[in-house]
C-alpha cells in the first residue's frame, strides 16, 4: 500500500514548520547581531530536513532539542523572545509531524505483500475480481486520511494555544516571592515523580 499521496500535506506542513523554526531563530539571532547563531540554526534546520527526507527518527528529537537549547540560549543573549517562542512552537509541530509520519509508515510496512500479490493475481482476473482489493485499499486510505485530519486539527489547536499562552506569559509579569517559588518547585518535583511512576507502570 502506498500512503505517500495522502501523506503529502502532512509532509509539506512538517517541512514548512521546520523552515519556520529555523528562520524564526535565525532571524531572532540575526536581529540581535548574532550571525553565527543564525548560521547554526539554518544549518540545524537543513540537517533536520535531511533527516526528515531519509526518515531518521532520531533527527526529530535532536532537532527539537537543538532548537529548544537555542531558544534558551537566546534568552541569555537577549534575543527577542517572540522569535524564540515562534521557533520553539514550530519546532514542536515539526517534531510531532515527523513522528506521525513515521507512525503511518509503520502501518504501511505492516501490509508488505498486498500490492505485489494483487498485481500477480489480477493478471488473469476480471475487474470484478479485483474490486475487493480496491475496497480494502480505499478503506485504509480513507481511515489514514481521517486520522491525519484529526491529528492536524488537534495539533493546530494545541500549538495555537501554546503560542498564545507563551505570548501571554511573555507579556504578563508577575513577581513571585521565594515561598511561592519553593512551592512551585515542590509541585514540579511531585509531578516529575508521578510521571516517572506512570512511565514505570506502562513499561511493566
Amino acid at each position: 500500500m502506498n500512503l505517500s499521496t495522502p501523506l503529502s500535506p502532512v509532509t509539506r506542513i512538517m517541512t514548512i514548520s521546520t523552515l519556520v523554526a529555523a528562520a524564526a531563530l535565525a532571524l531572532g539571532y540575526g536581529l540581535n547581531q548574532q550571525f553565527v547563531g543564525s548560521l547554526i540554526f539554518i544549518a540545524l534546520g537543513l540537517l533536520w530536513l535531511v533527516g526528515q527526507r531519509y526518515a531518521q527518527t532520531a533527527s526529530a528529537g535532536l532537532g527539537l532539542l537543538g532548537f529548544a537549547v537555542g531558544a534558551l540560549l537566546g534568552t541569555l543573549y537577549g534575543v527577542q523572545s517572540g522569535w524564540l517562542l515562534v521557533g520553539i512552537t514550530a519546532a514542536l509541530v515539526a517534531w510531532d509531524l515527523h513522528h506521525f509520519i513515521q507512525h503511518l509508515r509503520i502501518n504501511e510496512q505492516r501490509a508488505p505483500d498486498t500490492e505485489n500479490s494483487a498485481a500477480t493475481a489480477t493478471d488473469t482476473e476480471t475487474d470484478a475480481d479485483a474490486a475487493p482489493r480496491l475496497d480494502t485499499r480505499a478503506r485504509l486510505e480513507a481511515e489514514a486520511r481521517m486520522l491525519e485530519r484529526e491529528h492536524l486539527r488537534r495539533l493546530a489547536i494545541v500549538s495555537g494555544l501554546g503560542l498564545l499562552l507563551g505570548a501571554l506569559a511573555l507579556t504578563v509579569r508577575l513577581t513571585l516571592s521565594f515561598g511561592v517559588i519553593v512551592v512551585l518547585g515542590v509541585v514540579a518535583i511531585f509531578a516529575l515523580s508521578r510521571l516517572i511512576r506512570y512511565l514505570r507502570q506502562e513499561s511493566d
Binding site: A68, T75, S81, H99, N107, A144, R154, S159, G166
Partner: protein, 433 residues
C-alpha cells in the same frame, strides 16, 4: 513512551533553567510544550472496553481455496481517538487479499469491521489473539493489550483424484459393491457352471454344456460384486521422509492417501486409516461422506514424527484391520519393513503398497549436481538397484507394489498398475459324460 519522557524532560529542563537563570522568558518558552503535554494527558485513553468477534467464511477449506476472515470490533467504552486492531495471523497462512489490521477512531458504541483473505497449505491453523492499541491523537499516551478471540481454520490436503480402483481382497462384506467377491451369485463376470435349479432364469442356461447331456440342464454362475474393508496405512515416520527445498515426500504421500481414501469411499467400501509415525493416529473404519471428512481431517493434522517405539512397522496394530481385508500402505519403504509386510500377507491380508520413490525424488532435486559428479551417479544407480531388489522381494510374496515417481500423475500410475488381472478359475466344475 520515549516521546513522552523526552518531552517531559525538555519541559523540566526549560523550567529549571528558567528558575536557575531567574528568567521568566525561559519558563515562557516551555509553555507550548506544556500545553502539548497537557492536551495529550487530558485526552489520554482509558482502558478500552472492546468486544471483538472473528468469523471465518469456512472453518474447513480445501487445499488452495481461500478463506475470508472478518473481524468486528464493538467499542463499549469511552471514545477511542485512535485504535489499531491487529489480527495475529497463524504462521503458515498467507494473506492474499485485504489487511489483517485496521486503524480508525471509534465513538462510544461504535463499530468497525475489517476482512482479509488467507490461503495456506494443508494443516490446522488456530487463530487466537488480536492486539488492540489505543492512543490519543498526539500519540503520547497509549494503552495496549491482547484479546483472545478463538477460531480455527483447517486446510484439507490436496486431493489426487482417482477413478475406480480394482482391488481383490480375500473377504468382502455383505453389501453390493464393485469388488469381485470370489463367490457365485448375481453379478456380471462369468464365475462357473452348475446344474440347473428351479427358479434359475432361462437366459442363464448354458446351452452348450446342456447339449452334451441328455437329462440335465446347466446354468451359468456369475461372481458376486461386493464392497470390502480397506485399511489405509500412512507412513509418517520422520526417518522415511525426504525433504528437499521445501518439498516434502510426505506431502505427496498425504495427497496420494487422500486420493485413495476418496476413491475407495466413492466405491462404497468401508475405509479406515492409520497414520503410523509419531504414534498411532487411527480413524476407525466407516462409510460415506462423513468418513471421508474424518479421513481428510486426520490427514490435515498428520505430521511426521520420531518415536523409538514406532521406528519400525513391528508395532503395526494388525487387529485394527478386519481379517483378510485389503490393506494399502503408503510409504517410501525401507528394508526393515519387508518382514512385517510379508507377515501381513501370510495372515491373509491383501496388501497393496504405494511407494513414493524417494530415490528419484531426491535425485531430481539435485539433478545438476548428480549429472556433474560421477560418484553421485554411481551412488544413485546402486540405491536404485537396492530399491528395485527390495520391491521385487515384496512382489515375490504376492504384494502389489506401485513404485510412484511423484512427478508423474498419480491417477495414471494407479490406472496402469491396477489393471484387473485375469481371474483364474478357482471353481472347477466336473462334468461327467
Amino acid at each position: 513512551m520515549r516521546r513522552l519522557l523526552f518531552l517531559s524532560l525538555l519541559v523540566y529542563g526549560l523550567v529549571i533553567a528558567g528558575l536557575v537563570m531567574v528568567s521568566g522568558n525561559a519558563v515562557a518558552l516551555a509553555m507550548p510544550l506544556v500545553v502539548y503535554l497537557a492536551a495529550a494527558f487530558v485526552f489520554s485513553p482509558e482502558k478500552p472496553r472492546l468486544v471483538i468477534t472473528r468469523t471465518l467464511s469456512a472453518n474447513i477449506v480445501h487445499h488452495g481455496a481461500p478463506a475470508t476472515v472478518t473481524v468486528t470490533v464493538h467499542n463499549q467504552g469511552t471514545k477511542l481517538e485512535e485504535v489499531l486492531i491487529e489480527d495475529a495471523v497463524p504462521q503458515g497462512l498467507t494473506v492474499t487479499d485485504g489487511e489483517p489490521w485496521t486503524q480508525t477512531s471509534l465513538p462510544p458504541g461504535g463499530k468497525t469491521e475489517f476482512s482479509y483473505v488467507v490461503e495456506g497449505k494443508r494443516g490446522n491453523y488456530p487463530f487466537r489473539y488480536l492486539r488492540a492499541t489505543v492512543n490519543e491523537h498526539l500519540g503520547l499516551f497509549r494503552q495496549q493489550g491482547w484479546l483472545e478471540v478463538g477460531a480455527n481454520l483447517m486446510v484439507l490436503p490436496e486431493l489426487l483424484r482417482l477413478e475406480h480402483l480394482d482391488i481383490r481382497p480375500l473377504r468382502t462384506r455383505g453389501y453390493a459393491g464393485p469388488i469381485p467377491s470370489r463367490l457365485a451369485g448375481s453379478g456380471t463376470d462369468f464365475f462357473g457352471v452348475r446344474e440347473y435349479q428351479l427358479g434359475d432364469p432361462l437366459r442363464w442356461i448354458n446351452w452348450r454344456a446342456s447339449a452334451r447331456h441328455q437329462h440335465a440342464l446347466f446354468t451359468n454362475e456369475f461372481e458376486m460384486e461386493r464392497i470390502a474393508d480397506v485399511g489405509l496405512i500412512l507412513d509418517a515416520r520422520q526417518n522415511n521422509n525426504v525433504v528437499v527445498e521445501n518439498d516434502s515426500l510426505f506431502e505427496h504421500a498425504i495427497s496420494a492417501t487422500a486420493g485413495l481414501a476418496e476413491a475407495f469411499i466413492n466405491d462404497g467400501n468401508r475405509v479406515g486409516m492409520l497414520v503410523y509415525g509419531r504414534g498411532l493416529e487411527m480413524t476407525y473404519p466407516g462409510y460415506g461422506k462423513v468418513q471421508r471428512e474424518r479421513i481428510m481431517q486426520a490427514l490435515a493434522h498428520a505430521r511426521t514424527g520420531d518415536s523409538l517405539v514406532f521406528e519400525s512397522l513391528d508395532y503395526l496394530p494388525v487387529r485394527f484391520f478386519p481379517a483378510k481385508s485389503q490393506i494399502v500402505l503408503v510409504s517410501p519403504l525401507r528394508k526393515e519393513d519387508l518382514s512385517i509386510l510379508t507377515r501381513l500377507r501370510a495372515r491373509g491380508y491383501q496388501v497393496l503398497v504405494v511407494s513414493p520413490d524417494p530415490v528419484t525424488f531426491e535425485a531430481q532435486k539435485y539433478a545438476p549436481l548428480s549429472e556433474a559428479d560421477a560418484s553421485v551417479q554411481l551412488a544413485l544407480r546402486i540405491t536404485r538397484v537396492e530399491r528395485e531388489l527390495m520391491l521385487r522381494r515384496l512382489r515375490r510374496v504376492g504384494i502389489q507394489v506401485i513404485n510412484w515417481q511423484v512427478d508423474q500423475p498419480f491417477a495414471n500410475v494407479m490406472r496402469t498398475a491396477l489393471v484387473r488381472p485375469v481371474m483364474p478359475t478357482n471353481r472347477i466344475v466336473r462334468i461327467e459324460r
